[in-house]
Symmetry: C2
Subunit: 408 residues, 2 copies
């Protein structure tokens, strides 16, 4: 078998943990597998480098940030190869340029386009364990790019897809994918299986267990994905096609506090005004999530939308600078909001799900701001202080601790 | 003008020093020059990474060490580009792979073979200040190599040669090249000029101001080299062809404590015995410096030679393991020795120089062990505790503080 394993930064934070992970890798190799390992930067390395950069230039270009941050993973892979060598195993470290991981040119948020398999295959043929830098790639200018926070998951899935790996294991510090964050909801239950679609929604809604794009890639290339702990023997959660997964009404509940709401009031009720706002944001690569447009007074419209908190300052500046085009009476923001979402492949054909969720929130005394729905999820915007209450109330209402209501 | 500047690790050790250096770079750019900057890793970064590796695997492969250590320079160049950007200058950082610095495959001690100028030139044409990682290159396997301690000097000279730069400035924390180490010999004098040959000898004899190979490259490609301080306005020392440098009898005195002497006693007096010893060492890439062979008792020979202290353990193991071939009666070592040398392009035709040097040592009560001479240098092996006395005595004897005795 060809197995791809990915270990996060906390799993390789120091020499002891590196040897713990090296032991897991060696097991897979000793079982007769070809093994490719993807690593993140050690512990707080990335944050430390960001601090260092900020001290010099708080507005450092994304290109130079990627050049700087990519060194973290390169250190991890070299140290892991040394640890495996020390244990008597053949191993070699490779960075993104050596592998040939080609990405789009968007620094700090690049997408993998293609992966060359030549070097990887020849190292595997030499019976090397191949240890590859996660989180990074190379763009058409031969510059280093990074894939965004959590991007190492995507590196692992993309490499598994390129190599036609039999299995892609994502190692983390929890036992798998849970019905809710176990640190908040005490009786949250680990799922044995979940569908790609549900996992993708959960990931994009704030469940930090997997990078959203990694799930999309896994689905597209039919990579069998397992999320499991590097600290336990739990078999983890298998992420796979819906057809083979029980369709659950609600498979999990997630929250995201890293968002802010922007409200633009009193825009002229003319076609194209909303378009102008969102094309402004798109040009700056700012992702907009929930959008609500409502009719205000005097033939004007109000638009509210949510963005990631990290984009707040830039978005406000952009809107204010361009208000001579937008023509809004008032532009304001609220960063005391959070998003709580439920995800389930079965809810599409079951109209009662939204009602149950709202009932749970009402019972818990939580006010709902904006609402957004898709085929398999419902998100609501609430006050940030209510998040824990909301998660517990919803988790209880749908009996997620014991079993999910199922739908064929 | 096209100017290449190299700054060492202590010059970029923290944010404040990075901005100090950025100021020097900006000056050169504002004066209308194209500027390429070569940087070492910040402060103790390289030593810290070596420590980290040792904790995991004291015998880490040189390939993985190079993979690890090369991250230090990549961090420096990204941070410097950020600092220059912050000051309003266009700048871009490049690593060895991006520039295309091709080296031999010898990890940890590679030699530069060729440098591609395409990317460098196109960035200069865009009016960017180009900040390049020193100390590293890429070999034919697309693996990262490093050039040995001090290798950033060589990176700078090689890039200056490849680009046909008008000037290559090596910035350090002293004002230039001195007649002796100013920390030991208080009245050591800064030289305004020195020839490539003399500088190469001084560098290889332990004067830490320049990497030996950088001087050889500068001479070969006629790169005008200046050694100067990043902390002062002193014009520094110009290193150039002998024809334009005043031929000094003695231009400087240097010492090297990082050596050990090995003595092999009682080898059979047969042709090829010495050859066997040195070819053993050569196969392991161990450099031998001073060699003396003398006739021992009973038709046997004794061989003494000096090596770098870092190679001592490996050399002793190697010799003992192969003594069934060498057939020595005794193999011993002494690491309490040091080498003191004088260098001067004028001494070749002036027989009194050696006598003056020995006289100085005699007056200072310093015993001489081995002696080695070349056209432009004389080295003696002495007891390590006598180094400071020897340096001062020789420096005085040749009046290096005020003027050198000159020879046409």
């Amino acid at each position: 078998m060809l197995v791809v394993q990915k270990y996060g930064g906390s799993s390789v934070a120091n020499a002891e943990r590196i040897f713990n992970v090296a032991g897991r890798i060696a097991e897979a190799y000793d079982a007769g597998n070809d093994v490719v390992v993807i690593l993140s930067a050690q512990g707080d390395t990335t944050d430390d480098l960001i601090e260092k950069a900020k001290e010099i230039n708080p507005n450092a270009s994304r290109r130079e940030m990627d050049m700087l941050l990519s060194t973290g993973e390169q250190q991890s892979v070299a140290l892991m190869a040394m640890a495996l060598n020390k244990m008597g195993y053949r191993a070699i470290s490779l960075n993104a340029m050596q592998v040939g991981i080609d990405t789009t040119s968007a620094y700090s948020n690049a997408k993998i386009k293609t992966i060359s398999t030549g070097r990887l295959m020849s190292e595997l043929e030499r019976k090397n364990i191949v240890v590859v830098t996660g989180f990074q790639g190379i763009n058409k200018y031969e510059d280093i790019t990074t894939l965004g926070r959590g991007g190492s998951d995507t590196s692992a899935v993309a490499i598994a897809a390129a190599l036609g790996a039999d299995l892609c294991e994502i190692y983390t510090d929890v036992d798998g994918v849970f019905t809710a964050d176990p640190r908040v909801v005490k009786d949250a239950r680990k799922l044995d299986e979940i569908s790609y679609n549900e996992m993708a929604e959960l990931a994009s809604l704030g469940a930090k267990v997997l990078h959203t794009r990694s799930v999309e890639l896994a689905q597209k290339y039919k990579v069998e994905l397992v999320v499991r702990s590097s600290l336990s023997r739990d078999p983890g959660t298998v992420v796979k096609e819906e057809t083979t997964v029980e369709k659950m009404l609600v498979s999990g509940v997630a929250s995201d506090k890293d968002i802010a709401r922007i409200t633009i009031e009193g825009i002229a009720d003319q076609p194209g005004k909303a378009f102008e706002v969102f094309s402004l944001l798109e040009r700056k690569n700012i992702s907009v999530d929930i959008i609500i447009q409502s009719i205000g007074r005097d033939h004007t419209n109000d638009i509210s939308f949510t963005i990631s908190k990290g984009d707040l300052q830039q978005t406000m500046e952009l809107l204010e600078k361009n208000n001579h085009i937008i023509g809004a009476k008032k532009i304001s923001y609220d960063d005391n909001v959070a998003k709580v979402s439920i995800v389930g492949a079965g809810m599409a054909t079951h109209p009662g799900v939204a009602r149950l969720m709202f009932e749970a929130l009402y019972d818990a005394g939580v006010n709902i701001g904006m609402i957004s729905t898709s085929e398999i999820k419902i998100s609501v915007l609430i006050d940030k202080k209510d998040v824990e209450n909301a998660l517990v109330a919803i988790h209880d209402k749908f009996n997620l601790a014991t079993q999910s209501m199922r739908k064929n």
